[in-house]
Amino acid sequence: MVDIFGLYNYWIVIFLAMAGMYIVIARGNLIKKLVGLNIFQASVFVLYISFGKVTGGTAPILVKGVDTYSNPLPHVLILTAIVVGVATTALGLALVVRIRQEYGTIEEDDIHSQDESM
């Protein structure tokens, strides 16, 4: 039973991923969809950072008397993934601004009915 709570950060990962995906699928508001997408991506960041952690390890900086370090590679990878995530969000928001200029709304249903009536 200890294991279930010992791996609590993986539970957080799964919860965040499911919550993010649910928002992307269930919400019609374009901004809310992007928020959901961000939450989903954040769950992956937590996943990478979690498995880079070595129990009892510290930050990977050479210090006397310390010989256990956390694995820095996943952390560095996720730095890259965060940059990609920021770029995606920025581009998504820019698209939403343009969509609002053209359609006057950011609700998916309204946009869809405007396209249908054309």
Partner: protein, 492 residues
């Protein structure tokens, strides 16, 4: 000296040219830079392909750091063929974009278009040369982000929603791929694809690896528009500017198929992907559904670009069908179709770009009688269309022939029948366009339409003639596809 750095040059050239376009800004300077960069990387890709075919696999240590620690670029026959396709299409579409309506639309900001185009090319080339799993994700996102921008440039406001939808689906797909790479790293402790492949059998196939596999197949399936996950594709290709549709339809989904091949066969290994897990049967069912449902939907579309977009989803089905046979012949057919489809879809979308340039629409009714006013353009459409159906003497015939051979070799003659039937349905939608253009009276306001300018016709005809050439003289793509298929199958 320089030739040993070719693998990295194919990525570096467009990567450096992209900001140069923004620095110089001028319409002509940006165009010149794009042309030099695309042709330069195509030349590099040709030399690489020749090297791979004569000397075998090339490995390049990025920055001089040896592989498991440094990033490795690794090129075998499959990578070389994908490189040829991407850079070849890139250098045919680049001169075409100069005279397209798109640039008049964006006016003095055309350097932005060129810069995104080069970044997209850089990302796609990067995916096809890298031997590092995380690096692959980063390049994939470079190409995806720039393709969202390119699609959103379309004239119709629906281009914006199409691009947004693609962004959401594409990002979910990419995030699935990152999860999969993370889980693989967790299991093996390395990101180098060859290393992962080596260590996975020792690690054993536990739940982590199976989860990684599932995330990867779904993620790549989203990116390559495998049948039920294709929702983003038809609108994105329909409303994107013609140059962009031609470029993306011919390259983006192909590179995703390459990722699928690389992971299924090299990283996870044939034994795990197809013996331990029953991947082949679901893939085959999806492929057959993809061959039929989008093809039938295409028959009822009014917009010719949408017809071609749905047909692209169907063609992905043929490629996946080839993969799902898990034989050398099947893989050869799949890879060959990947090459040929790039040629025919590139050609057809470029033709539609020329049509749109003159009549401002790709609607099948507006194209009535167009063969009288634009004979060369419509002749090119017929050429590309015949290849799409798979008439003998065109490239499309060769790959379908190999697909049928592969299914008969397996003893599944009913699949061979299905391939022929779905090709016959494709005749319907191509014929609808031809019937409208050749046998109907043009609308009154379109009687005096002029033939498309040469700068649009020449690139389109280059690809159409490519279809004919590779339909007769098949040795180049065939030998590469066969070698690639043997390498993939031999990896287990």
């Amino acid at each position: 000296m320089l030739s040993s750095h070719l693998p990295v040059l194919v990525i570096i050239i467009p990567l450096i040219a992209a900001p140069l376009c923004i620095l110089f800004r001028g319409k002509d300077q940006a165009f010149a830079i794009t042309l030099l960069a695309t042709w330069g990387s195509f030349a590099c890709a040709c030399v690489i392909a020749a090297q791979v075919m004569s000397q075998g696999e090339i490995s390049y240590e990025l920055g001089g750091w040896p592989p498991p620690i440094g990033i490795e670029l690794r090129i075998d026959a499959l990578n070389a063929l994908i490189l040829l396709i991407v850079s070849g299409i890139g250098s045919v579409v680049a001169p075409y974009s100069r005279n397209s309506l798109l640039l008049e639309y964006v006016e003095d900001r055309s350097y932005m278009y060129y810069s995104s185009y080069l970044l997209c090319l850089c990302g796609l080339m990067g995916v096809s040369v890298t031997g590092d799993a995380f690096n692959l994700f980063v390049f994939l996102e470079i190409s995806s982000l720039s393709s969202y921008v390119l699609i959103a440039l379309g004239f119709d406001r629906r281009a914006l929603t199409a691009s947004y939808q693609y962004l959401i689906m594409g990002t979910i797909g990419a995030t699935f791929i990152v999860i999969s790479i993370g889980l693989l790293y967790q299991a093996t402790g390395t990101l180098n694809m060859a290393d992962i492949a080596e260590r996975l059998p020792q690690h054993g196939y536990d739940r982590t690896v199976i989860a990684a596999f599932a995330f990867l197949v779904i993620g790549v399936g989203l990116k390559m528009a495998l049948f039920p996950l294709h929702q983003w594709l038809p609108n994105a290709y329909t409303y994107a500017p013609s140059t962009v549709s031609a470029f993306l339809a011919a390259t983006a989904t192909k590179v995703s198929i390459y990722i699928l091949l690389r992971f299924l066969f090299t990283v996870f290994g044939v034994q795990f992907s197809f013996d331990v897990l029953p991947t082949a049967v679901p893939l085959m069912i999806l492929a057959i559904l993809a061959m039929f449902i989008p093809t039938i939907v295409a028959c009822f579309q009014k917009n010719v670009k949408k017809i071609l977009a749905y047909s692209s989803v169907a063609q992905i089905g043929y490629m996946v069908l080839g993969i799902s046979f898990v034989t050398v012949t099947g893989l050869t057919a799949g890879i060959l179709h990947l090459f040929n489809h790039a040629l025919m879809k590139g050609a057809l979308f470029l033709v539609l770009g020329a049509v749109f340039y003159r009549i401002g629409s790709c609607n099948i009714d507006r194209m009535a009688g167009l063969a009288r006013t634009m004979p060369w353009t419509m002749a090119a459409f017929v050429g590309g269309g015949l290849s799409l159906i798979g008439i003998p003497m065109t490239a499309g015939f060769i790959s379908k022939w190999y697909l049928i051979q592969a299914s008969i070799e397996k003893g599944w003659w009913y699949i061979a029948v299905l391939i022929v039937v779905s090709s016959l349905i494709a005749v319907i939608y191509i014929w609808r366009v031809i019937e409208s253009a050749y046998f109907r009276e043009p609308p009154e306001d379109l009687i005096n339409v002029k033939e498309a300018p040469l700068s649009l016709l020449i690139p389109a005809w280059v690809l159409v003639l490519g279809n004919v050439y590779f339909g007769v003289e098949t040795s180049l793509p065939l030998s590469m596809a066969e070698l690639a298929a043997k390498t993939l199958m031999g990896g287990s």
